[in-house]
């Protein structure tokens, strides 16, 4: 998708850029390579009023910070643009001169340098491979001309607690619409029409539950005349266990959850009881602050319960090695670094890892900040190497069957194990000292540091220097990032993109918010409402903004290809998990068991064996499960980190090596091959055909029924004709080649059904299976519009 956007971007650059500049953002999404910004800015007009955060800092950060940024060890000629004070001070080389003289472009050395074409004088220098476009130069010059007003980076500025809700002319459902519509009205635009009801129901169903709506639900809510019908539907979905499973499925990416250790032989680990806890937490709508605090520091609560300790397994989901011969300390440091990275990315929206080796080049995170944060996670009584082959890494607890039966009932002990070991977090009594590691290397300690979050954020003075203190600090109302980061991700669930497009980077190099006031409004509301996730999702979904149609025109797409104005609903291809779950649910194969040990549905033979060392460990060979376990929701699919389920990777699932908060969406022919040829898809198609035969009497009704189930709408006449024709062609073929029919319906473990009527032959079943497969393969079937 992003690639397409790029081609559009180049083609329609003028219009698009103009639009972006109006809202003050040069899209800084990683999907857009630097070149695009350079090309595009040639067409852009310079903004009337230059804003430091929205226009100037992105240029400084991108083109100047490499040598004149926050990394103190790399500051050239003593000049840094990291802070206001440093940027405006006299130049080291000539104390009578300044890089920036507000309002005076003639005497600002910066202007002279960027205008110069002399290789030994110009900035950026030719050897840096960086260059300023004309647009960028003009912005910098105009900013100085207008007085060079400096601002702190937007996401580090405390939340605006009293955001003014803008007045608008058009109709609104809630405040979200005021913010979105006011930007549209500035350009004499309005919302797109509301989506038709069945599309809307499908959209809500996939966004909240990850599953398609049932026909019963569609008909009930489409026909309902109650003004609260959509609201009732949202409530119904939010209170379903499917909602909790869907949210958990996405949290597993954040938590880099897997069923194996991730290095070398990549043996099995048992972490699924923690996954069951996450389902339980989403299901009971646990407050987000509690949900995160328990995962970060549940073990440090006074008289911590087993449940609270189970939550901390979050921070043991990182990879652990058992490769004989590694130097344990080298790896132990990696595990701590992984927790640090996860904390930064998942909760603060900051990429901390740059600061592991040196002061961050772009963000105000120094190497000292990094290791001070690292110190919180450095006190675990753990070893770098699993010394006993197949052993369980310390520290861990054992959950007994009795405890599970009596207290920890959210754990689905399907195999009725007497005891389940689970890795958890713990602090050792004697605090392990933390040092700044030179270049981040385990064997190069320099200066000792103490547990403290980054100093450019809210004060830590009132808190204890342990993980409990860290989570309290994270949820301190004065933390500028925590709430912004999570509401942005909840928005992303509903729109595909966040208000900040780079959900994983709220720093200097990340995208700027398209609607900063709305982001603050939502962040404040989220806290005021008690960090209530369900309530926030409902608030977003009940907006007119969310409920617009996704129908659009080429002109509209040209105008805003990435839908940064939210002037329509996005069409989003379903995630890898949702596609499989949709096949299973639509064909009624889905087994709705919640939680329990991960399962192994069909995957092509030999994938594990081909890459294994041959040592015969627990993950040497993939043995497909039989029966119900094949038809569980995909969040329960066994995740071997070094050989993840291939079909899921092809549909852009992440490997779970590290915390990820957003997936890319790509389009490749391998996806088509999976949709058409995967035996799981064929099996689901066959079952859908059975259901159609059993529910409807004539061919046309059967086809309509299958289409309706898979796409949530009725096919029109032309569509019906195409599919009916396909059935007839296929039936003719299968009648002539009865063996082909038998072969096709023999795919999968699912038992063949005797059709009630003898008139239904193998050729009928096979042909309708093909029609069902064609329907599943429609773009519409794997998309929510």
């Amino acid at each position: 998708m992003v690639e397409i956007v790029r081609s559009y971007m180049v083609k329609y650059v003028a219009i698009f850029l103009l639009a972006l500049i109006l809202i003050g953002a040069c899209v800084n999404d990683k999907s857009l390579i630097d070149q695009d910004c350079i090309i595009s800015s040639q067409f852009a007009s310079i903004p009337e009023a230059i804003d430091f955060n929205f226009h100037v800092r992105p240029i400084l950060s991108d083109k100047c910070f490499k040598c004149h940024g926050p990394d103190k060890s790399k500051v050239e000629s003593g000049l840094s643009f990291a802070t206001e004070e440093e940027a405006f001070k006299a130049l080291q080389s000539d104390l009578s001169k300044h890089a920036i003289v507000p309002g005076d472009t003639l005497n600002s050395m910066l202007v002279k340098r960027i205008k110069s074409t002399d290789g030994s004088f110009m900035m950026p220098p030719p050897g840096s491979y960086l260059a300023l476009s004309d647009y960028e130069k003009k912005v910098l010059i105009k900013w100085i001309d207008q007085g060079a007003q400096w601002k702190k980076h937007w996401s580090f500025i405390p939340l605006n607690e009293v955001v003014d809700v803008p007045e608008v002319e058009g109709e609104v459902s809630n405040e979200i619409d005021n913010f979105i519509l006011s930007k549209l009205e500035e350009q004499s635009l309005e919302f797109s029409n509301p989506a038709s009801k069945n599309y809307l129901i499908r959209r809500i169903s996939f966004d909240l539950t990850g599953l398609p709506p049932s026909i019963k639900d569609i008909e009930h809510y489409v026909n309902s005349s109650s003004p609260s019908s959509i609201e009732d539907l949202v409530d119904k979905y939010l209170s379903s266990i499917s909602y909790a499973e869907n949210m958990t499925s996405q949290w597993l990416d954040v938590a880099r959850y897997a069923d194996t250790h991730g290095y070398q032989d990549d043996l099995e680990r048992i972490m699924w009881p923690w996954r069951d806890w996450v389902i339980h937490a989403f299901n009971s709508n646990m407050r987000y602050d509690d949900f995160v605090s328990l995962q970060l520091s549940g073990d440090l609560l006074p008289n911590a319960t087993k449940e609270q300790i189970i939550a901390t397994a979050f921070n043991r989901n990182h990879k652990i090695t058992q490769e004989g011969g590694v130097i344990p300390e080298e790896y132990r440091v990696e595990y701590v670094a992984d927790r640090t990275l996860t904390f930064g990315k998942a909760f603060l929206g900051l990429s901390m890892e740059c600061a592991r080796c040196h002061d961050h080049k772009y963000d105000p995170v120094s190497q000292e900040d990094y290791f001070s944060l690292f110190a919180f996670f450095n006190n675990v009584p753990e070893k770098g190497l699993i010394s006993e082959y197949g052993g369980i890494p310390e520290p861990y607890i054992k959950l007994t069957k009795k405890e599970i039966d009596e207290q920890l009932t959210f754990i689905n002990n399907l195999d009725t194990l007497e005891e389940i070991p689970l890795m958890i977090m713990k602090d050792q009594n004697k605090v392990r000292k933390t040092y700044i590691l030179n270049r981040g290397e385990y064997d190069k300690p320099t200066r000792e540091v103490f547990a403290k979050p980054p100093s450019s954020l809210n004060s830590f003075a009132a808190y204890k220097p342990n993980r409990k203190g860290l989570s309290d600090w994270l949820f301190d109302r004065s933390n500028p990032l925590t709430s912004r980061v999570i509401v942005n991700r909840l928005w992303q669930i509903c729109f595909g993109n966040g208000i900040v497009a780079t959900a994983d980077d709220f720093g200097n190099q990340g995208a700027l918010p398209t609607h900063p006031e709305l982001l603050d409004f939502l962040a404040v509301k989220f806290m005021d409402d008690g960090w209530d996730i369900k309530k926030m999702l409902k608030f977003i979904i009940m907006s007119k903004t969310y409920q617009q149609t996704s129908r659009t025109t080429p002109e509209f797409i040209e105008w805003d290809p990435e839908n940064r104005f939210f002037a329509r609903a996005p069409r989003l291809r379903l995630s890898a998990e949702k596609i499989i779950d949709h096949m299973l649910a639509t064909s009624e194969l889905l087994v709705e068991t919640v939680g329990g040990p991960s399962v192994k549905p069909f995957q092509p033979e030999g994938l594990w064996q081909e890459t294994t060392g041959g040592g015969g460990g627990s993950t040497a060979k993939y043995v497909k499960d039989k029966g119900d376990k094949q038809y569980r929701r995909s969040l329960y699919t066994f995740w071997k980190r070094t050989v993840p389920p291939p079909g899921m990777l092809t549909f852009d699932a992440v490997t779970r090596d590290f915390c990820m908060v957003k997936r890319e969406v790509t389009s490749t022919p391998l996806q088509a091959l999976i949709m058409m040829n995967n035996p799981r898809m064929i099996e689901a198609s066959r079952n859908l055909a059975y259901i159609a035969f059993e529910s409807k009497d004539d061919l046309e009704s059967q086809i309509v029924y299958m289409f309706y189930k898979a796409t949530s709408r009725l096919p029109n006449e032309e569509e019906r004709n195409i599919l009916t024709k396909f059935f007839k062609e296929e039936k003719e073929r299968f009648t002539i080649n009865d063996e082909d029919a038998k072969a096709l319906i023999d795919i999968g473990d699912l038992k063949q059904r005797d059709m009630a009527s003898d008139a239904i032959t193998d050729a009928d079943v096979a042909a309708l299976t093909m029609v069902a497969n064609a329907i599943f393969n429609l773009d519409e079937s794997i998309t929510r519009s």
Partner: protein, 494 residues
């Protein structure tokens, strides 16, 4: 048995398809497929330079004049011993059983497997060495075929790496970083240079298992993973299985005619949606199915080696007739190269010889020797060697001392990152030379060290890419294959 009626039917189908897609294969959506399955130059739509640029990869103008168009990388997983193959060190035989001098070891960190040993007894190769070709390059008796191409290849004896264990070392070689998460070399090239063939993936991977050590080191799909690049730059595994590419084959009971019909029906229905929603993603989906259909024919064509003449099998050795072996994969690599696949990566497992080395290394060398040499000569006779870069080597070398007890007949060698040997051929690399030197103990490099990042920088250089300019911005940082170091090894360029 193709009757005339079926032929007409097929032509009709294919005409429909073309009419449907229009004269160009580049619907807007096709752009998204550019890097995985680009169009051939003849298909490019001149009215849409932006889309064309896309298909060529993100690098519009190569930074340098390229010497190679493609790479075949014969990765020897596990760490082959340089002493039994390339490095003739008579001193080690002379000092057999005596202690590694501490001034030679010089504080080098060891793996946890031998760091606890009381003694580090030196051990030389039990196999003889000779000089070959006009270049006089030395090879052991275990490489009778490779030695015959001595004048075609460049042997680098001064490779060194930072990692001392397999997982980080192999990840380092393939991605430039010891920890997982970065794109692999082939993905970088797919992203940067795009595709040369519309029907095959740009980056393919072939695996084989060695006979040297049965229980050896595993591989990880991240070694051909896309890291933070889009998943369409993922390496695609070609397997010696029923499905050479996962899910490629039509399921039983479905034939290519009915598949064609189904794709056409799906296309017409998707087309209606496109009119309704105006979302270019839908046209991308339509193209996706066309490309998938083409792959269903082109991949089996490539895998079907039956039409290779006997003398070719003879050249690659008898194993080349057995699908899934290194030799069969080497032959397949040539076929893929001919069809324009840009990066073909073979992995041969089983080189991790901590014990039982004399026998294991012999078997392992036999697995790969003949076919590796044959591949170079086969490319040469087709005029392809000059623009194909062939690489042979593993993730690190092995120690000059014995791991475990040294007996008359048996010994092992631990991992050694400080020096090891690889070879390269074609693609603008100087043939018939040895580059770099190690000390007489074979422990330290004494001349022309080549770091893994130098090696990677050189690879990119041969393809016309300046490794410092080829970056991808992710989470605010411009990442490179070579991370923050690397120099092109000028001394091996012709």
């Amino acid at each position: 048995m193709k009757g005339p009626i079926k032929e007409i039917e097929e032509r009709k189908l294919s005409m429909n398809r073309r009419a449907f897609l229009g004269k160009s294969c580049l619907g807007i959506g096709t752009a998204a497929l550019g890097s995985l399955l680009g169009c051939q130059p003849g298909d490019l739509d001149n009215n849409n330079p932006a889309t064309n640029a896309m298909l060529k990869g993100v690098i519009d103008n190569l930074h340098l004049a390229p010497k190679a168009k493609r790479i075949i990388y014969l990765f020897q997983s596990g760490g082959p011993s340089q002493f039994e193959l390339f490095e003739n060190k008579p001193l080690l035989n002379k000092l057999r059983g005596t202690e590694l001098p501490s001034e030679i070891r010089n504080g080098q960190r060891l793996t946890g497997m031998s760091s606890g040993q009381d003694s580090f007894p030196l051990v030389g190769s039990p196999f003889g060495f000779n000089k070959y070709g006009q270049s006089g390059t030395e090879f052991s008796d275990l490489l009778p075929h490779t030695s015959k191409i001595a004048d075609e290849i460049c042997v680098i004896k001064s490779m060194h790496t930072e990692a001392i264990n397999h997982d980080p070392a192999i990840t380092f070689f393939q991605t430039g970083s010891q920890q997982p998460g970065r794109p692999s070399m082939g993905s970088w090239l797919s992203y940067g240079l795009g595709s040369m063939n519309e029907n095959l993936p740009t980056f393919t991977v072939l695996l084989s298992r060695g006979t040297g050590r049965k229980f050896g080191q595993p591989l990880y799909s991240r070694l051909w993973g896309n890291g933070f690049l889009h998943s369409l730059h993922q390496g695609v595994q070609f397997r010696a299985a029923k499905d050479p590419v996962l899910y490629l084959k039509d399921p039983q009971g479905i034939n290519s005619m009915s598949r064609r019909k189904m794709i056409d029906k799906i296309a017409s229905l998707n087309e209606m949606q496109l009119r309704k929603f105006g979302d270019p993603e839908i046209s991308s989906r339509i193209s996706q199915y066309e490309m998938a259909y083409k792959m269903q024919t082109s991949v089996p064509d490539i895998m079907n080696v039956e039409n290779e003449p006997d003398h070719i099998y003879k050249m690659y050795g008898p194993e080349s007739m057995k699908p899934g072996t290194f030799a069969a994969n080497a032959l397949l690599a040539r076929r893929l190269a001919e069809k324009g696949v840009r990066f073909i990566q073979l992995y041969h497992m089983g080189w991790d010889h901590h014990f039982n080395l004399p026998l294991a290394v012999k078997n392992q060398a036999k697995d790969v020797d003949q076919a590796s040499a044959a591949l170079v000569m086969d490319l040469k006779q087709r005029g392809m060697l000059e623009d194909t870069l062939v690489i042979w080597g593993g993730e690190f070398g092995r120690t000059n001392y014995s791991q475990g007890t040294l007996t008359d007949k048996d010994f092992g060698r631990d991992h050694h990152p400080r020096c090891f040997t690889i070879w390269m051929a074609g693609g603008g690399i100087k043939p018939g030379i040895s580059y770099g030197e190690t000390d007489e103990y074979g422990y330290n490099i004494i001349k022309d060290p080549v770091h893994v990042h130098d090696f990677q920088a050189t690879l990119l250089h041969q393809l016309g890419i300046d490794h410092e300019k080829f970056t991808y911005k992710y989470q605010g940082r411009r990442f490179r294959l070579t991370d923050v170091s690397g120099h092109v090894v000028k001394g091996i360029l012709s």
